[in-house]
């Protein structure tokens, strides 16, 4: 799970142009700098690429915190054999 959280923070940091250590697990996604809808979608695509997953469409704009994103990634990645 730590690996997933680190990966999610890394992608978010790169897409949003901020340092991953500025992003906490409990950070609200929409409260992060530059986190408009286009950036959130861009981050979702990048996270999908990184973890070889596909988010259910209905959750992409409904996940509220970084921790929620990591939880969903971990759930989706496990069956594909990626260690959570």
């Amino acid at each position: 799970m730590e690996e997933v959280m680190a990966g999610v923070k890394s992608v978010l940091g790169r897409v949003l142009g901020i340092a991953p250590d500025q992003i906490a697990a409990e950070s609200a996604i929409r409260g992060l700098p530059n986190a408009d809808s286009a950036a959130i979608l861009e981050a979702a695509l990048a996270i999908e690429d990184r973890f070889a997953i596909e988010f259910p469409d209905e959750v992409v704009f409904r996940l509220e915190t970084v921790s929620e994103v990591a939880d969903v990634v971990a759930r989706l990645a496990v069956p594909a054999g990626i260690p959570a």
Partner: protein, 266 residues
């Protein structure tokens, strides 16, 4: 600024033949309040308030499309028709004894952020018009009150025509500069279409604090209309973009090559 009127005259002429008259074509004296159901009252009150957001949308359109005379001419007619929708629904509500309060209406006229890409703005409106058309059409079949049914049939036809026009203008932007507009169009479409558990509509989305008890996503018939509208929405998006789009997965697939990997940006 280009003064070229490439699409507006044809759209105007086409719509002029189909336009209905609020006084002449609606049999106002035939309203039968005893046939009105609670769900009609709730849905139409919500719809009337939602239609009032036209005012702020029009301000935005004229700002965002200030250099596009063709679109601005068309949107002035759109404005007239949408304000007529608000008035028609409001007049029907008055006939059954419901007066909208000023404090319900006024917040829906507040400005909201102007769009960033005109083709994407057209896309948002294609989606919202087709959803509204489906919802109004469904309601026209469900209500037992004949005058309301007649009003809703007219509104549904108007919204469907509006969607065609927005798609036509959106397509023109894509044809002129595909590399600039395709990504914003696909992102906008995904944003509005991804979540089918809510009736996501600009009239609610840009007014999160306005008239919270009367929101489209609280109207069961509106939610039911979502899936039913999708087929047509994706047909229009396919026509606009020249990309076969049948669902949100296709939107993401089309978007992926346009979004640079974060590593490439670093």
């Amino acid at each position: 600024m280009s003064a070229e009127l490439a699409q507006y005259p044809a759209i105007f002429d086409r719509h002029e033949h189909l336009r209905w008259n609020l006084n002449r074509d609606i049999p106002w004296n035939a309203v039968r309040p005893e046939l009105v159901r609670d769900e009609d009252r709730f849905a139409i009150r919500t719809a009337a308030l939602s239609e009032f957001t036209t005012l702020a949308a029009s301000h935005n359109f004229l700002r965002e499309f200030v250099d596009d005379v063709d679109f601005s001419c068309w949107v002035s007619v759109w404005f007239y028709e949408e304000v007529k929708h608000h008035y028609a629904l409001r007049r029907w509500l008055e006939r059954i004894g419901i007066a909208l309060r000023g404090d319900e209406i006024a917040p829906r006229g507040r400005p909201y952020p102007v769009g960033a890409d005109p083709a994407a703005t057209c896309t948002m409106n294609v989606i919202s018009e087709l959803r509204a058309a489906r919802w109004y059409s469904d309601l026209s079949h469900l209500t037992h009150e004949p005058v309301l049914a007649a009003i809703l049939r007219n509104l549904a036809a108007d919204e469907a025509r509006h969607a065609v026009a927005f798609a036509s203008f959106g397509k023109r932007y894509l044809e002129r500069d595909r590399s600039a507009h395709l990504r914003p169009v696909l992102e906008m479409a995904y944003f509005w279409l991804a979540d089918t558990t809510h009736f996501k509509h600009p009239a609610d989305f840009f007014y999160p604090d306005a008239a919270v008890e009367y929101r489209i996503d609280k109207v069961p018939t509106a939610l039911a209309a979502l899936e039913r509208a999708n087929h047509k929405i994706f047909e229009y998006l396919t026509e606009m973009t020249d990309i076969p789009l049948h669902g949100c997965r296709d939107l993401k697939r089309a978007l992926r090559p346009l979004v640079p990997a974060p590593e490439a940006q670093a």
